[in-house]
Symmetry: C2
Subunit: 337 residues, 2 copies
């Protein structure tokens, strides 16, 4: 008999709400379990919906990162959920719980960060709710996106043989977080600032998501919030498949390499297990890999990184010099920076 | 120079976010300011979106009303926003911030209340977010609704001469709240229970909203959350009109009359100024008043209550025996029970 929430855990809580009692959906293609819910949309389109709650003391501290970056990041990470399904931003809704002692300047800076991110990615704010809070500030963002009907990309479509690609290198966000937690790591200021920015001001890969969706190039896709291996694990579970990742192919930026040297860590640790990268991770049929690489280069000027292959056998294997081994765990726990 | 949120106030905060910085909406008919935002929907339809945040210590106490009723009410009041625009429920999204010490049984009872309300009004739960909270529980509900294109009813469409109708009598919710705040008010148990239920388990008038919307009968509509006069004031402001309310026509239920006698109050105080009734208040062209009354009686078995008329002059006047006077204020402040 489980009687406290910690024992029940996040997935236990979600299962509680998946249980019977709620009526079945109509005109919906996906509900609980993917990055967004998918509903029937304007002619020829489907609607994506994602919602995210951020609480003071859990997700942010008033004396921490600062309200401008909080505003930016809270919208950016939600936009990344739209990107992960191939969607375009449509409308944002913001609910705010505000304690009496919150300075107006804090709210104003938060608004600026949110509005700058909204302007950057073209999403209007169409509604919300404002209420008092007792002590901790609370915010909840809900985004609607649009995608051509049938072009939305789920986590569940990966087939054995598909190539696994990364939309950009990972790990810098986790390195930035490591610098917050341990400011004694010895790095020159420009490197330090760049890593903090990677952590605090993530850029959702909306253009890439839309390119892959419209071209029908991706069979499965996710955005990396929990860490590359853990999110790849989500694709594998939903697709009832496994994966082989070639460690030599996992990109490490020069900046991440300098951080790793200073912190005396393997740069692959943050690259594989660090969270909050918000890069896209996706699968492409092998015969379309070149087309995907070329389209991203030509239309977006970005380089994609093929890092492995989807397999029949469940589970993830990591390879180096032709040798394959299981990661002890896929995610933060083992590879924590 | 305003430097704290209390001075700025709810409307100041909303204005802050209405300020420039966000991109303009596309395919949207209404944004911030009505009960729901209105967006283009599936062929021939439009989408309604409403979001609401409820915080422990502000909107509910853990030792208060109880989690089952909290679950019911949190969904019901959001459904009422859909009803107020003539919409049908489509999909619900729930974000939860849960403190570690919240008993699983509390969450389970909350889920039951939410699921029972969802089943009663036919809305599936299609997604959400679950996160830890430091101390106070937080919940944010976002609902999507649908309405035939052009049939959505705004607050802004009332014309001078339109009749003002009420979907059911008001005041019992405020009476229930008064009993919570002052349990010494002497009432027999069945009356007490019925009034508490009116406060704790509101019923959104979705069928009535849809009937008025589909028949093109209502020119303006709102659900009564702030109080009859205050919400009528919102219609008047948005429609750039005024209103005359005939006090003899404002319905008072026998239950409310018994409460008023026991509490030594004028029953019109809670009926006119009590909040959280979630009855619909709407305007109908005079030549269609009979049709609206008849349709509600025939199709829904309910009686509508004509209580006044929309006027050219701004402001609200209250009439009794042919005499008209201004209410000192329209809303809780003056008429508080």
């Amino acid at each position: 008999m489980v009687d406290n929430l910690e024992e029940l855990g996040e997935f236990g809580i979600i299962d509680l709400f998946r249980k019977s009692g709620f009526p079945p959906p109509e005109d919906a293609w996906a509900g609980i379990g993917d990055d967004c819910a998918v509903l029937e949309g304007p002619p020829g389109e489907r609607i994506l919906v994602t919602t995210d709650m951020l609480l003071e003391g859990v997700h942010f501290l008033r004396g921490g990162t600062g309200p401008y970056l909080l505003g930016w990041k809270s919208l950016a990470v939600n936009l990344s959920d739209l990107a992960a399904m191939g969607g375009r931003p449509w409308a944002a809704f913001l609910a705010l719980g505000l304690p009496r002692d919150l300075p107006v300047s804090y709210l104003e800076d938060f608004r600026k960060g949110l509005a700058d991110c909204a302007a950057r990615y073209g999403i209007p704010l169409l509604g919300g709710d404002t209420t008092a809070a007792r002590k901790d500030a609370a915010l909840c963002l809900t985004l609607l996106g649009r995608v051509p009907a049938g072009r939305e990309v789920y986590r569940s479509g990966a087939d054995p043989g598909d190539r696994i690609l990364l939309g950009r290198p990972t790990g810098e966000s986790a390195a930035g977080l490591a610098l917050v937690l341990d400011p004694s790591i010895d790095l020159p200021d420009p490197d330090r600032e760049a890593l903090l920015l990677a952590h605090n001001k993530p850029e959702p890969q909306l253009d890439l998501g839309a390119l892959l969706s419209l071209g029908g190039l991706a069979t499965a896709m996710i955005d990396i919030s929990d860490g590359l291996l853990r999110d790849l694990g989500h694709i594998c579970e939903e697709s009832q498949a496994g994966a082989r990742v070639e460690l030599e192919k996992v990109p490490v930026t020069p900046l991440l390499a300098r951080f790793a040297a200073a912190a005396k860590k393997d740069p692959l640790d943050p690259a594989l297990a660090g969270g909050e990268d918000y890069a896209l991770l996706f699968c492409v049929p092998p015969q379309r890999e070149e087309e995907a690489l070329e389209a991203a280069r030509r239309d977006l000027g970005i380089r994609l990184h093929p890092i492995g292959t989807v397999t029949d056998d469940p589970g993830i294997l990591l390879g180096r010099n032709g040798e394959w081994r299981k990661p002890d765990r896929t995610g933060y726990t083992h590879f924590r920076t």
